[in-house]
Subunit: 475 residues, 2 copies
C-alpha cells in the first residue's frame, strides 16, 4: 500500500492557469465541493490557513481598539429596502428563508450577504449619547451571496469573513477609521501573506452598494489578473439615516452618526494560492502555513535515522515551529512531491550518511533549493530560514508585480497591457461611459485610483484626465 510514484499531476500553470488552480485546491485537500451547487467545504488543511489568518488579523483588530460580537444570520427583507443603493446591490444575490418551524413566515428573511442593515438596526438602540461613541465592533461570520458562476475560495455562495462595523461622532473620525483599517489590511497582506497590494479608492461603479467611498486593496495573481483582497468603506450618514443611529452631542444637538465597514474573507486563501503557487503546487508563506517544516527520513531502517528525526521534531516544536515528521511508508520521492505540492516552506531530509557527517539536508520551497546544513542547531537554522522565506516571498512577489505594471495612454494600450497579463495605469476623465467602454473593449475593470494623477488625458475620450486608474482583468 506504500506509495512510490507521485500521481497527483497538476495542470500546467503556464498554459492552463484556471485548471491548475482547480487541481491545486482539490489535490492538496484545501477544499472540496459541497452538495449544494456553489458551496464549498473547507477541509482541515485549508481551514488551518484560515485559522492562522484569523489569529493574525484578530490581534490587529484588538490592538486598534475593536472588540468582537455576533449578530443574527437572518435579516428581515424589509431592512434591505431602507437604503436604496444597498438593496439594489444585494437583493438579487440573497438567499431567502420563507418557512421555519413547519410554518410559512409572515415576513421572508434574508440570509445575511453582509450585515450593515441588521447591525445598523442594533446600533440605533445602543447609541444615545456622544459618550457611547465610537462603537468599534468586528464580527467573524459566514455570509451568503448567490452567485451564478462559482470557484472555491474566490466566489462561492457561502463564505467566511470578518466584517467590522463602526460608528463615529464626526466625519473626520469615520474617514480616519476607514483609512486606518485599510492600512491594517495592507500591513497584514504584506507581512503575513507576503502579498504586495495596491490600495486606493474605487470608482462609483465599483464601490460597495450604499457607501460614500470604497477603498480596496488589489493583489496581482500569477496570471496577471487582479484579486480584490479586502475593502474598507466610508458609509457617511447613509446607513445611520436609514437606521436612525442618532446621538445627543456635547453641544446638546441630536445628530446622525458616521459609519464605516470593512472586510476580508476566505478569498484571501485564493489570493495566497494564486500569488505564490508554482508548477509543483502551493507555496505557502511561513506565517500562515499549517505545516512550516516537514521531516522526511531517508533509508529509515538504517540505525539512528528515526531517532534523529524524532529528536529534530522535538527541537523544532520547542522552537515554536509547526512541524510534521512524515513517518509513513511511502517512498521519500513521493513524500517530497506531496509536501512540495502542499506548499510546506521547509523540508528536512535526514539520512544515515548525512547524519554520520553531522549534517541534514534542508530544502526551501520558495526557491526550490536544497543544501547540507549542520545537524547541531537545526531548529535555529529552520527558524531563521522561515523568516528569510517569508521575506523573500514578499520581495519576489513585489518584483514580479512591479515588472507587470505598465503605463499607457489609450484604449489600445489598455487592451494590449491586460492581454499581456499586466496591471495597466491609464488616464480617466471620470465618466461612466468611458469606464464602461474600457470594460467592453478589454474585459478590464477599474481597480483603484492611483495615488497621483499621472496622465493629462482620458484613455478613451481624450478629455482632461481626473484620475490615473489601475485597470486589470479581475477575479
Amino acid at each position: 500500500m506504500a506509495k512510490d510514484t507521485f500521481v497527483e499531476n497538476l495542470a500546467d500553470i503556464e498554459t492552463n492557469f484556471p485548471q491548475w488552480y482547480t487541481d491545486v485546491v482539490k489535490k492538496t485537500q484545501l477544499v472540496d465541493y459541497g452538495p449544494v451547487k456553489g458551496t464549498m467545504v473547507i477541509r482541515p488543511y485549508g481551514y488551518a490557513i484560515w485559522e492562522n489568518i484569523q489569529k493574525e488579523l484578530d490581534a490587529r483588530f484588538k490592538a486598534t481598539g475593536h472588540t468582537n460580537a455576533y449578530f443574527p444570520l437572518l435579516i428581515p427583507m424589509s431592512f434591505f429596502t431602507r437604503e436604496a443603493e444597498h438593496v439594489e446591490g444585494f437583493a438579487p444575490e440573497v438567499a431567502v428563508v420563507t418557512h421555519a418551524g413547519g410554518e410559512e413566515l409572515a415576513e421572508p428573511l434574508a440570509i445575511r450577504p453582509t450585515s450593515e442593515t441588521i447591525i445598523g438596526n442594533m446600533y440605533s438602540k445602543w447609541v444615545q449619547s456622544y459618550r457611547d461613541l465610537p462603537i468599534l465592533i468586528n464580527q467573524w461570520a459566514n455570509v451568503m451571496r448567490w452567485e451564478k458562476t462559482t470557484r472555491p475560495f474566490l466566489r462561492t455562495s457561502e463564505f467566511l469573513w470578518q466584517e467590522g462595523h463602526t460608528v463615529h461622532a464626526t466625519e473626520d473620525e469615520a474617514e480616519e477609521e476607514t483609512m486606518k483599517m485599510l492600512g491594517v489590511y495592507k500591513e497584514f497582506a504584506e507581512n503575513v501573506l507576503a502579498i504586495p497590494v495596491i490600495c486606493g479608492r474605487k470608482t462609483e461603479k465599483e464601490k460597495f452598494a450604499g457607501a460614500v467611498a470604497t477603498y480596496g486593496m488589489e493583489a496581482m495573481m500569477k496570471d496577471g489578473k487582479s484579486l480584490q483582497a479586502g475593502t474598507s468603506h466610508y458609509l457617511g450618514q447613509n446607513f445611520s439615516k436609514a437606521f436612525d443611529i442618532k446621538f445627543l452631542d456635547k453641544d446638546g444637538a441630536l445628530k446622525y452618526g458616521y459609519t464605516t465597514s470593512w472586510g476580508v474573507s476566505t478569498r484571501l486563501i485564493g489570493a495566497i494560492i494564486m500569488a505564490h503557487g508554482d508548477a509543483r503546487g502551493l507555496v505557502l508563506p511561513p506565517k500562515v502555513a499549517p505545516v512550516q517544516a516537514v521531516i522526511v527520513p531517508i533509508a529509515a531502517k538504517k540505525g539512528g535515522v528515526l531517532e534523529a528525526c524524532a529528536e529534530i521534531k522535538a527541537e523544532l516544536e520547542a522552537a515554536g515551529v509547526r512541524v510534521v515528521f512524515d513517518n509513513t511508508d511511502n517512498s521519500p520521492g513521493w513524500k517530497f512531491n506531496e509536501w512540495e505540492m502542499k506548499g510546506v516552506p521547509v523540508r528536512i531530509e535526514v539520512g544515515p550518511r548525512d547524519l554520520e557527517a553531522g549534517n541534514v539536508v534542508i530544502f526551501r520551497r520558495d526557491k526550490c533549493e536544497k543544501g547540507e546544513s549542520p545537524r547541531a542547531g537545526v531548529a535555529q537554522t529552520v527558524v531563521s530560514l522561515l523568516g528569510d522565506i517569508q521575506k523573500n516571498m514578499l520581495e519576489s512577489a513585489r518584483v514580479r508585480r512591479d515588472q507587470r505594471i505598465v503605463k499607457v495612454d489609450d484604449l489600445d494600450g489598455i487592451l494590449k497591457g491586460v492581454e499581456g497579463g499586466n496591471f495597466v495605469k491609464a488616464g480617466w476623465c471620470g465618466c461612466r461611459e468611458c469606464e464602461d467602454k474600457i470594460k467592453e473593449t478589454t474585459a478590464a475593470s477599474a481597480r483603484v485610483y492611483a495615488e497621483n494623477l499621472e496622465h493629462e488625458t482620458c484613455a478613451v475620450c481624450g478629455k482632461k484626465a481626473k484620475h490615473t486608474v489601475f485597470f486589470a482583468r479581475a477575479y
Copy 2:
C-alpha cells in the same frame, strides 16, 4: 453626566429567578434581542466570554488529535430523510430556504440544525481505506433550530456551537471517542467554568435523534433546575449506513464506519450565569471573565492616585491579567456596583490614605469580601487570588449541588424533591410509560443514569429497577 446612583436594579434572585436572569443578561450587556423573534445578538461582553470558552476548548480538541474544518450552512432537505429518527427529531425545527438569487430553488434547503447529514455525505467521499481512519474533525459554526419559546443563550433560534464529527474503523474505538470527549467536556466544565457536572447516559426518550447512545453532562443552576451543558453521541453505523461511509479494511472486506458526534454551545454562557450568579449580578470564573480585575481610583484628584492606578494596571497586564482601569467620572460607589453586576472577579480600590500606608484595598467578587493588601507585589497577589477564586467557585458550587441531591423511592418523593429545587435520584424500570408518568406528574425529566444502580424498585410501577436515574426539572 457622571453617574452617582446605581439604577440597574435586578429582580430578586430568590423570588423571581427567571426575571433575575433576563435582567442580568440585558443589563450587563451580554446580549440583546435581535429583530427576528427568537434571535439574539451576542454583545462584546458576552462574546468575549465565548472567545475564552473557544480558546480553552479548541486547545483541548487539538490536544486530543482533532482538527477544525468548515462545512456548508445549507443542507438539501432530502438528506434528512435518510436517517429515520433524525428527520423525525429535526424536521419540525428546521428553517428552510426556498428562493435564492431571485429564483425558486429546485430543492428546498435546510439551514443546518446540526451537521451529521452533510458531514456524513462528505465523509463518504473521503473515506476509502482503513488508512483514512480515524477522521477526527471539529467545526465551530452557527446552527438554527426554530423554537417556540426562547431565552437568550438557553434556547434561541440561532446559536453558536462546536460540533465534533468522527469516523472510526471499530465500535470500540468509536465508543472510546464518545467517552473521551465527554471526559474533555467534564474536565473543561469543572476546571474552566467552575461548574461541577453530572455525566451519564441518557434514556432513549432523551437521546439525540439518530444516536445509538447519548451521554450528557448536567449542571445544577441556582434554582435547582438542570441545564444540559454538553452531549456526546455514539452513532454506531446509523449515519454511515445512511450516507454510505464505507472503507476497505485490512482484511480486504468492505465495512461501514462507526461514527460519533459531540457538541457544546453558547448555552454554556447561560450555565455560567445561573450556576454562579447572585443578588448583585454575574459572578464570572476568572478563566473566562473578559475582565479579571478592575482598578477603581478613590478621591482620584488627590496626588498620586491616578499615577498609582496606571502603574498597577501596567503591572497586572505584565502578569497576564485582563485588567480595566475605570477612570470614568462616575462615583466610586457607582463603579463598585456596576463591576460587581458585571461579575468581575477582583476589584482593586486605590485611595490616597491607603497608598500612604503602602496599601490598596482588594475586593473579591465570589465571596464579596474586601481587605487591605500591600501595594508592593499587588500583581502577584491578584494572580494568586484569581487562582483561589477559580478554585473556590468550583468548590462552592459543588457543595451547593451536593446538598441538593436527594435519593427517593416513589413518585411523591420525586415531586417533593424537584419542588424543593433538588436533583432527585430514583429507581426506574426502564419503560417509557413510567418515564412519561414522571414527566406528567412532576415536570421533571430523566437527566442521566447514575453510575451505579442504587434502587431495587421503580419509583412509579414498583417493578424491579434497571437504573438509578437523576431526575430534575430542566432548561
